[in-house]
Symmetry: C2
Subunit: 146 residues, 2 copies
Amino acid sequence: MLSSTAEYALRAVLYVAQHAARGPVRVSQIAQALTLPRNYLSKILHELARSGVLVSTRGKHGGFRLGQPAESLSLYDVVNRFDRIEARRSCLLGRPECSDRQACLVHWRWKSLSEQVARFFRDTTVAELVSGAAAHPQSKRRVAND
Amino acid sequence: MLSSTAEYALRAVLYVAQHAARGPVRVSQIAQALTLPRNYLSKILHELARSGVLVSTRGKHGGFRLGQPAESLSLYDVVNRFDRIEARRSCLLGRPECSDRQACLVHWRWKSLSEQVARFFRDTTVAELVSGAAAHPQSKRRVAND
DNA sequence: ATTTAATAGGACATTCACATGATAATAGAG
DNA sequence: CTCTATTATCATGTGAATGTCCTATTAAAT
């Protein structure tokens, strides 16, 4: 579903959100904990820092922290840079022009579904994931309304 | 959302379904109509023939026809060979073991959504798409003729 | 000031999906 | 049988995503 780069980014950010309470988290630590290629992860984190999702500190005792409150950090914010998920909302058949007015054969059937996926990434925050642990749909009450 | 190969396959099958009434459809015709690379499309069609979605006929007046009734041909049947969409139902964070019992942070939020997507591909048939034209959800006024 | 531990970042290597081109195999038509 | 239009198949090219390596830069600690 996600490119591996986007997936790494998301996992890393979640890890940082969970471990940055006592200061910056080092790349090596994340790479080891999540079994990711260290140098490649380094670039991804740097990219996340450039887009404001993370903040980096160099030198001794350096590392990465969240660049903004976990409550205002959506999965879309994290993943967008590496995986243009918005593009998936467009035509499933790849037509350059596909809209309500010029609908392809699958347009109406695909539209609502793709919008749900987009909403999922937009509305889910890092805070929700790391705090609520799992948000089990049966044991926990559902979201009342929107 | 789909790999371009899978997208080509789907578009090609829909085209064949719409044009195979008067005999087999040639690769060149499909490639030209859909603006797809001819040789690459040829391989995709052959692959679809090997999986039973299409049937090929060689020689003069040859080409491709549907290998089974459009009513029993799901989008999943067409696309599966080229794009393991079922795999997207698995963990969004790429964990090898992610289930209701061993849930990752996003498991419960992602599960229902990914199941909907899987259902879409399994339940939507080629027949529905080529016959119903568009299946407009709000106003059914335009669907009458054509 | 020097040492040390960390990120920054360019250059390069690898892999794979995507695509092209040429040739072989098949079968209908004359 | 021969010609020709079609699919079948193999060899190869291309570019983007992924991954590695090495050096530069930064800042705390000594």
